[in-house]
Amino acid sequence: MKIMVSMKRVIDYAVKIRVKADKTGVETTNVKMSMNPFCEIALEEALRIKESGGASEVVAVSIGPPKSADTLRTALAMGADRAVHVTTTAPTVYPLTVSKILSALADVEKPGLLILGKQAIDDDCNQTGQMVAGLLRWPQGTFASKVVLDKEKQEVTVEREVDGGLETVCLSLPAVITTDLRLNQPRYATLPNIMKAKSKVIKKVTPEELNVEINTDLEVLQVTEPPKRKAGVILSSVDELIDKLANEARVL
């Protein structure tokens, strides 16, 4: 069985984000970029399944401009067998388009499992996994904190982190899984694997070849910082408090 893992190149999680002066987005020049942490967890899970005999191959996929290949190289260095880079010229590709591309790729690669991060830390959309599952008409186990594959039954049991606690679902393959933080701790890229990665293939594919049109159906109007927290005010009486709650905060 093949496992396909999709990953996104984002601003490194530890970087202090700064909004551009023209409010069109955040500062990305000379800023450290890395693989989205949830995608790293997705890849780690795929590698573990392969190592325990559940799968024969792990294919890493990324969509974007040339630099997206960096994350694929990291994936190969962590142990993925091969990679596919869907090249786009647009600087941002939105979840619906990503989902269409991934489902087209899934039709070609025919994986038994498609594992993705639950969301990207730059847009926090949390949409791609769910949309791909919808387009492919595959079952989905999102916010996975535990994944157990039953190869014989061709089923995967996923423990999901939900608001009320944990929910366990059983999905028949092929299925889509999106990973949450507690699923695993990703491995480091070891030197022997970094060296092996040099001979691994990154295949380039265009959206046209997959019959997917890049639609910018979303337009970013403005990006601003959240309002600065205002200082607290010490009040002199309960009457003043009631007055402020009624007239300023408008909660009474």
Binding site: P37, A77, Y188, L191, P192
Partner: protein, 362 residues
């Protein structure tokens, strides 16, 4: 835009670095205590730290100082010029003299550009000889992008993984004798990565390193640094620590660790780590409690005598203070110390500037 920062002595190092970050610069030094140490103190102790290999010592980076002398004179040497050969360069007297000749009140320091591409690799070497060869190779192959080269022995690694929360050995699959942390800093992410990969591949093929990992994001890089920077903290949790900060020619740096280990046998745990790139060893001897005087007598004066015989420094970056003032002769000749005493007497005749420190009390 010139990269020259002028500030008062009480500014905390980390705050200065954050301020400079917004302007695209950085402080030329970095140490574990950056969250609380003040720049005036850093300069008066000539603090070293983990970036000395790349940016040099404060003697090179400090352009000027404002100092208050023992007689109350405020000496304004706060120049911001890169080059100024007019008269004796007195600022050097105050850098590293631990406040015994004057109090630093303002600092003018040259700050390097903050480059965006950092890479950290954590490697394993089978023996100390390979650590040395690796250093040589790193300087040759990584050249101008090398920004830190630290080492720790397996005893240090044991200590940190046992006593610190959340710290794990990234190379835990097999036992290794020595670990080296290499950091590169440059302006071009992809070419730096390529240089590092080439260096690592060559080192692996040449048998210099037996295993290693490369950080894929800032979090992983921080976790590698946590291992190296956490050794001092972990040592304190182990019980009683005897600490020595020595510098030697790189070739014999680890020999003293082995000698002390042999001398003390099972009575103490001996760990060695430090700024290998600068030839600076931190030697820590750990026991259960400080009550055992027997241990101390086995360590001192042996460690100082050994250092002196091998032409090393008994205090590479930590200074002399009060504890080592009378040990200065192990690393400086009698004539040199005499001239120091002359200077001290001339500048501070009443002995009010940090008395009993740096120089032996006569």
């Amino acid at each position: 835009t010139s990269g020259i920062l002028v500030c008062e002595a009480g500014c905390i190092l980390e705050n200065l670095d954050s301020f400079l970050e917004n302007e695209g610069f950085m402080m030329p030094l970095d140490l574990g205590a950056k969250g609380s140490c003040q720049i005036g103190g850093n300069v008066s102790t000539n603090a070293g730290g983990i970036r000395l290999l790349r940016y040099g010592s404060l003697h090179g980076n400090v352009l000027g100082l404002e100092v208050v002398l023992a007689n109350g004179t405020v000496l304004d040497m706060l120049g911001t010029l890169r080059k100024d050969n007019t008269g004796y360069s007195l600022k050097h007297l105050f850098i590293g003299s631990e406040g015994s000749l004057g109090i630093i009140t303002k600092v003018s320091i040259l700050t390097p550009s903050r480059l965006s591409a950092t890479n950290v690799a954590f490697l394993a070497c089978e023996d100390y000889l390979n650590c040395q060869r690796l250093l040589l190779e790193a300087k040759r192959t990584l050249g101008e992008i090398l920004s830190a080269f630290e080492f720790l022995d397996n005893h240090s690694m044991d200590m940190v993984s046992t006593h610190l929360e959340g710290v794990r050995n990234p190379l835990s699959s097999s036992l290794h004798n020595f670990y080296v942390l290499i950091e590169t800093t440059g302006s071009n992410e992809s070419s730096d990565k390529e240089k590092l990969d080439t260096f690592l591949m060559q080192s692996m093929e040449g048998g210099l390193i037996s295993d290693g990992v490369v950080a894929q994001d800032i979090n992983q890089a921080s976790s590698f640094w946590r291992i190296r920077e956490g050794i001092a903290e972990a040592s304190m949790k182990a019980g009683a620590v005897y600490k020595y900060d020595l510098s030697f020619p790189v070739k014999m740096l680890y020999k003293i660790v082995e000698e002390i280990r042999q001398r003390l046998g099972n009575s103490a745990k001996v760990i060695g780590y430090g700024h290998l790139g600068d030839g600076n060893l931190h030697l820590n001897i750990l026991t259960d409690s400080y009550d055992n005087n027997d241990i101390l007598s086995k360590i001192e004066p042996f460690v100082y005598e050994w250092t002196s015989e091998h032409h090393g420094s008994i205090s590479a970056e930590h200074g002399l203070g009060m504890m080592k003032a009378d040990k200065i002769h192990y690393s400086k000749s009698a004539e040199t110390v005499r001239l120091m005493v002359c200077l001290k007497n001339m500048m501070d005749p009443n002995g009010i500037m940090n008395p009993y420190k740096v120089l032996p009390s006569f």
